[in-house]
Every structure is written in structure tokens, then in C-alpha cells.
């Protein structure tokens, strides 16, 4: 083969910093050397020793590639409550306000471009019989909120803003943050939802940093100043309540909790370098198991327990020359406690029963085993006699091992409302599809097709993931998580059809559709390009009675399953 033909076919191998953060998603500013010098002189970075960084990941390059400077006008919404975080912010100048009315849907809806969640009345439900549109994907162009004045475009970036800041401040409880403060770092590192909406209180310049850059700074900063700051914020705001979710620490006294917290470490494992991690990880499932970052190795001394904060982990055991999956752990689950307790009870040395590895990435609180043992010895916590590993399945459970591998390798364990169809009962009657269409203006929001393992199919319907990567980078917040039920929903009125969510969804569960007017004509913009909108399953959140697909299945074949719940999964399998 000639060199010329090789050159013709070859492309540059994609690298981490091919696309600097400052040029992503409509941003086109480039950080100059002067900008970087200025940042390095700022208090946020001045104490960081650049010599501690690896030569391949120098601090200067992290700032150049993982950071962007963003200007906000007064009222511009910076982050919205419920959005999935993938970056953190540092206020360089100006000030922002944090909305403190958390969980108040009515107030949040005013400034987030979200949809007000209401259920249809009985008559409205019935009226769908004759009110559903004859044409597919009908939209009322007048209902678009883009005309209402709270969305604007800044250099190619769409931004939601509050038109009357003073009225919002007067009406809602807010707190002001001035220059020199970080925010959004916990959501970014943990890839958890933003807990509050933040908007610019005055014209402000913010430094926004990708979580990967933040992670590297935390990793290589010898001074550990930023890490100490973030961990102190985490301990102050979230750690105690997170620890109390574990039964072992539920009844611990405040004093003992205060003693425990300094020993806990917040750690992120794995590589999650793009918004499309599952697609990049797709391929041979055997290789996937081999290549997953190992957090704790089977057979090692259990020197810590891991309380998972976000992400999903695989439990696997050695089986001949390979490894077999025996379960998975999701947020709120603990690894290592069984072994630590066993060692404590017997007084003998024990080992981890299984390997814990990150499926993609994992954010966990690591608690040293000796601290747990000390607490047990002092009686600060009691030994739960009936403790066992939370999700032991596969080889020892009722869930078929092949099915477990299928669900974990395909990352379907992310699903909280996964559509699982028992193909041995499904008569392919499509009543589910018709019911879906009947409740969505004659537009079915899923496809009764998908990957099959044994007799179970995971249909092509939104699974309302635990970690909905589809929400990352939605410019208007149109795709959002319902704060009460945790459903991932799209607001038709604020969706601008950018397709970011559809391209991020690892399961192709979001479809971009051409919208139509009442006459059936495709809606177009001034350049004659069709107006697209993202559509997907909304789990019939506005319908009486729950998901129409499940209710319409005559043969109990279709179930929406929360794969975070072992009993729910077993309930479907063991019927």
C-alpha cells in the first residue's frame, strides 16, 4: 500500500484539547497568553504550584483549553436548578445571585424557561380523542417562548434571562455572591444536578472551567488549596446528609458525625471526558470490563468503604480466565461495608469479595475502614447484624447472569424508567404504540424495537436516566429534570431544536422532528430551514393514570422498570 494512499485515508488522532472549551458550543473567544497570565495572578490560581503538574497536563494548558471567560449581563441565568453540571464557575468580577427557594416549582418556573407541571383533567384527557391533530408533530408557533423576550442570543450562545431582576429579588429569597467565589463545583465534579438557580446580579465576568480541568487541578495541585476549599464546601453543605442516608450512620450523634467527616474523602474515578461517554465506550463488552478503572480489587484488604454519590459501578468476580459481572451499584449504595463488618466481627483479616470498577466515571465518598471500626468499637454506631451487600445479583441472585451483563454492558442500568418488554408475552399488537400516540397528539414517542437479551427487549424509549447526559449543554434548559418526580422532560416552548440532547443521548431515545402548523405544512424559519424540535417519552407525566404504554399492554409484557431497584428488576424477571 502506497504512502500516498495511507495519507489520503489517515486523519489526525483526536486529542483531549483539540477543541478548547473557549470555542465550544457557540463560544468563539480564545484565551490569550495575557489572559492566562492574568488568571494565574488571580487568587484562585496564584497559590497553585505549576511544577506539581504532569508535563503532558501543565496548568497553563489546562487554563488555556479547559477554561473560558464568559460575560453575563444583569439578569442572565448562569445555571438552573436541576440542570446537570459539567462545569464550575469562579466569579472574576461582578456578582451573582443564588435563588434559595429550592424545590419551589412555581417560582423556579418563572426564571428557568421550564414547563409548569399540571395533570390533565378527566375531560381534557377524554378530549384528546377529538382534539388530537390530524398532522404529525403539530406545534402552535404562537406558543413559543422565544418571542416572549426572555431568551436572547449572545455570540451564537442562547441565553435565558430575567427581564425584571429587582422583582425576582423582591419576590424570592436569594443570596448574593461577590467576586472571588466558586460555585457549581460540587455538581461539576459529581455530575449531579445543580441544586440552585444562579443569575447575574450585575454585569459580571465569570471563569467557567470544564470538570476535567478542575479534576486535574485538584489532582496535581501540591498546595491542595482548591481541593481543601471544595472538600470543606462539600463537608459543610452535603456530606452529613449523604452519610446519614447509609443505615450504618443514620443514628450517629452530631458530635460523632463531626469527628467522622474530616476523615472522609470525596473522590472521582474513571474517565468521562466528553458528553458522549457511552458511545465512546461502546464496543466489545469483554474489553469494556477489562478496561474499566478499578476502584477496589477483589481479594485486597478492605481498607475503605465507598459510598457512591453519582455514577454507576460494576461488581465483578474472577471466573476462570475472565471476569463475570455479579451486580452493580448506583448512587446511595455502599461497597466494602460487608467485608469491614465481617472482619470486625471475626477479628480476622478479610478481603473484598468482588472487584469494584467504574462504568464510565464514579464519584464516591471514601471512608477509611479503621474509622468505621473505631466507631463500631466505641459504640458510636451499631453493627447491623443483617447487613449485606446492597445489590448482589447475577450468579447468586435471581437475575440471569447474561441479562445482568446485557444491562450493565449496555449501560441500561442508568435507567429509572427503562421500557423492558418480555418478548415471550408480547404479541406485537402495538397497542402500546397506539396508546402513546393517543396521549401525545397522535405522535408516538418511542419505537417498539431495541436490543434483545434472551426474552427481554429494552425498547427504544427514554429511560429517564440516573445520569441524563442528554441534559448537558442544552442552551435553554428546555430539557430538564422534573424536580419532584425526577423525570427528564422537554419543554416544547423553549426547545430551539439545536439537537444537542439528541446527539448526547447514548441510547438514541431522542428524535428530532420537523414541526408542522395546523394545516400540516412544515414550519420553517426565515432561511426556509425547517424548525426542528426534540421529542421523546415524557412518561405521560401530564396524563391521568401514568404511562399509557404500560397501561395499554394487554399481556403484561411491557413494564417501565426502575433498574436502580433490585426488587423491581427481579419482579419483572421472576414473573
Amino acid at each position: 500500500m502506497s504512502q500516498a494512499s495511507v495519507n489520503q485515508r489517515s486523519i489526525d488522532r483526536p486529542r483531549r484539547w483539540d477543541m478548547p472549551f473557549s470555542q465550544e458550543a457557540g463560544h468563539d473567544s480564545v484565551l490569550t497568553d495575557a489572559d492566562i497570565d492574568s488568571l494565574l495572578a488571580n487568587d484562585a490560581f496564584s497559590r497553585i504550584d505549576p511544577d506539581g503538574f504532569k508535563r503532558s497536563v501543565p496548568l497553563r494548558e489546562i487554563l488555556r483549553n479547559d477554561v473560558r471567560l464568559v460575560d453575563f449581563e444583569q439578569g442572565d441565568v448562569i445555571v438552573r436548578q436541576g440542570d446537570w453540571g459539567s462545569s464550575a464557575f469562579f466569579i472574576l468580577s461582578g456578582a451573582v445571585r443564588v435563588e434559595l427557594d429550592r424545590g419551589d416549582d412555581a417560582s423556579s418556573g418563572l426564571i428557568q424557561g421550564r414547563q409548569e407541571k399540571t395533570k390533565k383533567t378527566l375531560f381534557q384527557s377524554l378530549a384528546q380523542l377529538w382534539q388530537n391533530n390530524r398532522h404529525a408533530e403539530f406545534r402552535n408557533p404562537d406558543a413559543k417562548q422565544t418571542d416572549s423576550g426572555n431568551i436572547r442570543s449572545v455570540g451564537g450562545v442562547t441565553r435565558v434571562y430575567i427581564s425584571d431582576v429587582s422583582a425576582v429579588i423582591e419576590k424570592h429569597k436569594t443570596a448574593r455572591m461577590d467576586a472571588g467565589h466558586w460555585f457549581g463545583e460540587l455538581a461539576a465534579l459529581g455530575r449531579t444536578p445543580r441544586v440552585a438557580t444562579v443569575f447575574a446580579d450585575e454585569t459580571s465576568t465569570l471563569l467557567e472551567i470544564r470538570w476535567q480541568g478542575l479534576r486535574d487541578i485538584l489532582r496535581f495541585d501540591r498546595d491542595q488549596g482548591l481541593k481543601t476549599y471544595i472538600e470543606s464546601v462539600f463537608r459543610e453543605r452535603a456530606l452529613a446528609s449523604l452519610l446519614r442516608t447509609e443505615r450504618l450512620f443514620a443514628d450517629i450523634s452530631d458530635q460523632e458525625m463531626a469527628n467522622l467527616m474530616p476523615h472522609c474523602r470525596l473522590e472521582t474515578f474513571g474517565e468521562y471526558d466528553t458528553a458522549k461517554p457511552f458511545r465512546e465506550m461502546s464496543g466489545d463488552s469483554v474489553d469494556a470490563v477489562r478496561n474499566e478503572p478499578v476502584i477496589a480489587e477483589e481479594g485486597d484488604y478492605p481498607n475503605a468503604i465507598f459510598l457512591i454519590r453519582s455514577g454507576v459501578a460494576r461488581l465483578s468476580q474472577k471466573h476462570h480466565a475472565g471476569r463475570r459481572t455479579v451486580g452493580y451499584l448506583n448512587p446511595g449504595r455502599v461497597f466494602g461495608l460487608t467485608e469491614v463488618l465481617r472482619g470486625f466481627r471475626s477479628g480476622q483479616s478479610t478481603a473484598y469479595d468482588a472487584r469494584l470498577s467504574a462504568i464510565g466515571y464514579l464519584n464516591a465518598v471514601v471512608i477509611p475502614a479503621r474509622i468505621v471500626e473505631d466507631l463500631l468499637r466505641s459504640g458510636a454506631i451499631s453493627d447491623p447484624e443483617d447487613s449485606c451487600r446492597p445489590v448482589p445479583q447475577g450468579a447468586r441472585g435471581t437475575v440471569n447472569e447474561n441479562l445482568l451483563n446485557f444491562l450493565v454492558d449496555g449501560k441500561y442500568v442508568q435507567g429509572t424508567e427503562t421500557m423492558v418488554i418480555d418478548m415471550d408475552r408480547c404479541t406485537r399488537c402495538d397497542d402500546c404504540v397506539r396508546a402513546c400516540a393517543a396521549t401525545h397528539d397522535n405522535n408516538p414517542r418511542f419505537i417498539r424495537h431495541g436490543p434483545v437479551s434472551g426474552r427481554h427487549m429494552v425498547a427504544n424509549a427514554c429511560m429517564h436516566c440516573l445520569d441524563p447526559v442528554c441534559m448537558i449543554e442544552c442552551p435553554t434548559g428546555a430539557i430538564h429534570r422534573d424536580t419532584l418526580g425526577g423525570l427528564v422532560l422537554i419543554n416544547d416552548q423553549t426547545c430551539i431544536g439545536c439537537a444537542q440532547c439528541a446527539s448526547n443521548c447514548p441510547f438514541d431515545a431522542i428524535r428530532m422532528v420537523e414541526t408542522r402548523n395546523a394545516a400540516g405544512a412544515i414550519l420553517v424559519d426565515s432561511k426556509n430551514a425547517p424548525i426542528l424540535e426534540a421529542t421523546k417519552c415524557d412518561l405521560c407525566h401530564d396524563q391521568l393514570g401514568g404511562p399509557a404504554c404500560q397501561r395499554a399492554c394487554p399481556h403484561d409484557a411491557l413494564e417501565r422498570v426502575d433498574l436502580q431497584s433490585q426488587s423491581a428488576l427481579e419482579g419483572v424477571i421472576a414473573r
Partner: protein, 272 residues
């Protein structure tokens, strides 16, 4: 014991107990020189209307009317109960008169199609899962077209190769019609592999006349035949799952029409 098996046992026991109670009640009334046929007739009317309402429930999937699966369970067991009620009502005798004969005949046909449908819906899905790739029925003609193009391309050979005459002749004689549309419906209904075996044998028999390259083409054709046969099987079985309803549902409405006439005439004669 799975939930479904337990559910089935409970349903059958309930139907058996209700049948027994109906029998006892009928005999008791008869021994008291009362005629149970009228109230059995009205019971049958209520049962038939309830059974027919399942179709209406399906049209109102947007309303919180309970799960379709729950309705179907009731439909099945109330449907089973309808047979003893019918037999008790008719006195297990074949009725006289056109309306009564038509009503009785239609009732039995609807009952039988219901039982057949129940058997089909419980036996075909596992077979579909076991054989061939899962496909949506409406998409099968598209997949057949793709297979046809693949098979024709194989027979036509590469651009600079002469097509094998043996394979071309066999394709025109045996395979051309096979790849046109879903075929061998009734063979698949009775799970006969004869057409598939016949075509594969015909292809294998050409091996002695083929060179190495044509043998590869023959193997590709054989693979296309297997995949097409699997598609035909999927098409047949999925069609069966749909077609039985084309008998069961329209005949139900026809039966309701005749049953209404029967009720009117029966009431008219009773009142005289």
C-alpha cells in the same frame, strides 16, 4: 410458582366455582318449578356486553380505566364463564328459529375464536423470540427487498465476472418468486420446514457444477434463503396474531345484533 401461573390457577378456580354455583342455582329453581332461563339470558346479555366493552376500553387508552392487562384477564375468565351460562340458558339444546340459530352459532364461533386467540397469543410469542431477528411486521417487506437485492447482486456476480449460469437458472426457476414477497404462509402455520429445506437442498445440489467462486456465491444465496425464511416465519406468525382478531371482533358485533333481536323477540313472546 410464578405470578402468572398463580393468577391462572386462581382464575380457573373462580370460573369453576361460579359454574358450580350456577348449576346448583339452576337445578334449585327447576326443582321449585321456576324457569331459570330468563335470568340466565339476562346474565348472558350482561356478560356479552361486558366482554364487548373491552374493545371500547382500548379506544380510551388516555383515561384511567385500569390496565388493559387487568381487563384482558377479566375478559378471558368471564368469557370462559359465558359458555356454561350459554349452555344452561339454552338447555344444552340446539335452538330453533333463524335468529336463535344465528345467535347461538355466532356465540359459539366467537367463543371458539377467543379460545384460539388465547392459545395463539400464549404460544406464538416465545416462538417468535426463538427464531430469527426481532422485526416489526410492517417493516418486513422492506427487509425482503433488501435481501432480494442482495441475492440478485450475488447471482449477477461481480462487475468483471460472468454470472454462473447454473445459479442464474436456479434463481429464476426457484428463488425469484421466493424473494418477491412473504411466502409459504401455511407451511409456517403448521411449522413445516419443507420449503426451506427444499430450497437449500436445490442450492446444495448445484455444488457439483460450480467452481470455487460460484460455490461462495451459492453459500451467500443459501444464507439469504435462510434469512428470508426467518422473515417469512416472523411475518406469518405476527399475521396470525393479528388476523384472529379480524374474526373475533366483527363476529362479536354481529352476535350482539342477533342477540338484541333475540332479546326483543323473546320479550315480545314472553309478554303475550
Amino acid at each position: 410458582m410464578t405470578n402468572f401461573v398463580l393468577r391462572r390457577i386462581i382464575g380457573v378456580v373462580i370460573v369453576a366455582v361460579l359454574t358450580l354455583l350456577l348449576l346448583v342455582a339452576t337445578r334449585t329453581m327447576e326443582s321449585a318449578l321456576l324457569s331459570p332461563r330468563t335470568w340466565l339470558g339476562w346474565l348472558l346479555v350482561v356478560i356479552v356486553l361486558f366482554l364487548a366493552s373491552y374493545r371500547v376500553r382500548k379506544q380510551f387508552s388516555m383515561l384511567p380505566l385500569g390496565s388493559s392487562a387487568g381487563w384482558l384477564q377479566c375478559h378471558i375468565y368471564v368469557g370462559l364463564l359465558s359458555l356454561p351460562v350459554f349452555l344452561l340458558h339454552s338447555g344444552a339444546q340446539w335452538p330453533g328459529g333463524l335468529i336463535e340459530v344465528m345467535t347461538g352459532l355466532l356465540f359459539l364461533i366467537v367463543f371458539c375464536t377467543g379460545v384460539v386467540g388465547l392459545i395463539l397469543t400464549r404460544t406464538i410469542p416465545p416462538r417468535l423470540t426463538d427464531r430469527g431477528e426481532e422485526v416489526i411486521r410492517e417493516r418486513i417487506p422492506v427487509f425482503i427487498r433488501i435481501l432480494r437485492e442482495e441475492a440478485e447482486a450475488a447471482v449477477a456476480g461481480a462487475k468483471d465476472e460472468a454470472p454462473s449460469e447454473v445459479l442464474s437458472e436456479l434463481y429464476l426457476r426457484r428463488l425469484h418468486s421466493f424473494f418477491q414477497r412473504p411466502t409459504n404462509f401455511f407451511s409456517h402455520v403448521i411449522h413445516s420446514a419443507k420449503p426451506r429445506t427444499g430450497l437449500l437442498s436445490a442450492l446444495a445440489d448445484t455444488r457439483r457444477f460450480l467452481n470455487t467462486q460460484d460455490e461462495q456465491t451459492m453459500e451467500r444465496l443459501a444464507e439469504c434463503v435462510r434469512r428470508k425464511d426467518d422473515l417469512d416465519y416472523q411475518y406469518t406468525m405476527q399475521s396470525l396474531l393479528k388476523y384472529w382478531l379480524f374474526l373475533h371482533v366483527p363476529l362479536t358485533w354481529a352476535m350482539i345484533v342477533f342477540a338484541s333481536c333475540h332479546v326483543v323477540t323473546a320479550m315480545a313472546y314472553t309478554s303475550q
